[in-house]
């Protein structure tokens, strides 16, 4: 995958655009960036990012990672996801990286980590099963 393909991938998803998601390829790894936007706030008093935004961001990250394997096929569909919220999402940039834990012929298990300062201090984690597109 090239940086241009990564950009096209994110630009093709309206939901990724409304969250402001950007894709960066670094040393062959796909890292998604969620720049801070006021419209992503869930709690204006703290302030903190919306839990749904962090969850949705990690879902997009998992689906983008799976899309890398088969760029010409439709997107995978989430079957079930578990999201753990570990720290408050501060009003700063957030990053996410997905790892395909196990890939079968129909289903893939994917783990995503989201962080702000360093990957070692995650703010949230997602693990989920995704239905892979049929290869025909």
């Amino acid at each position: 995958m090239t940086q241009r393909l990564a950009d096209t991938l994110v630009a093709s998803i309206p939901y990724a655009q409304i969250l402001g998601i950007e894709a960066k390829l670094k040393d062959g790894e796909l890292i998604l960036n969620l720049p801070f936007l006021k419209s992503n706030i869930g709690n204006p008093t703290l302030p903190a990012l919306h839990g749904g935004v962090i969850g949705g961001f990690m879902e997009v990250c998992a689906m983008a990672e799976l899309r890398r394997l088969s760029p010409d096929l439709p997107f995978s569909k989430p079957i079930g996801v578990n999201i753990d919220y570990l720290r408050r999402g501060k009003p700063v940039a957030t990053f996410a990286r997905a790892t395909i834990f196990k890939k079968g012929s129909r289903v893939a298990n994917v783990r995503v980590r989201a962080w702000q300062e360093t990957p070692e201090t995650p703010i949230a984690a997602l693990s989920g099963h995704f239905l892979l597109p049929e290869t025909k």
Partner: protein, 167 residues
């Protein structure tokens, strides 16, 4: 209906509109009761997750369920307080139909002093044919403020006794 639930009905729409991201994606307040909350998300092309099918992103449904679960948690605590999502489990039964409003109904079935346990279902008209189901835990991150009218009657009597014990 407690005064707190009445108050929630009053401020429910403002609570949703006052959440910047909920407002951004067009979420709406529908109903609230003790431990119950219903919100809706009208179809919005800006939320599409798969351009080929025009189905809204799983993340948008996640956000709707998270918000509904949060409101049900507040309704379950029966008082105002800052809350945060601890965990959220979502199972996607089917794609939401493009063009349809998604409705999320959340039930807070148990609260402890600090934690609320919630189940929720998202559907697009028929609750027996869900788009997704969710299970969530929320934690109270600060003090809980109950309306004076809803406080148990003996709470006032106990308070002076404590003061007397201290002095």
């Amino acid at each position: 209906m407690t005064d707190f639930v009445e108050k929630l009905w009053e401020i429910g729409p403002a609570l949703v509109q006052g959440t910047p991201h909920a407002k951004k994606i067009g979420m709406r307040f529908v109903a609230v009761d003790k431990g119950l909350a219903t919100l809706s998300l009208p179809y919005n092309p800006a939320l599409i997750g798969d351009p080929r099918s025009r189905v809204i992103a799983g993340g948008a449904v996640t956000t709707l369920l998270d918000q509904a679960c949060g409101l049900a948690a507040i309704a379950g605590f029966d008082g105002f307080g800052q809350i945060a999502t601890l965990s959220l489990r979502i199972d996607y039964q089917r794609s939401a139909n493009p063009g349809e409003t998604v409705i999320a109904e959340a039930v807070c079935y148990k609260t402890t002093r600090h934690v609320a346990f919630i189940r929720a279902v998202a559907h697009d008209g028929d609750a027996d044919d869900p788009v997704a189901t969710a299970q969530a835990c929320f934690i109270l991150t600060g003090p809980l403020y109950k309306l004076p009218s809803d406080a148990p009657e003996d709470a006032d009597k106990k308070a002076p006794q404590k003061t007397a014990g201290k002095s």
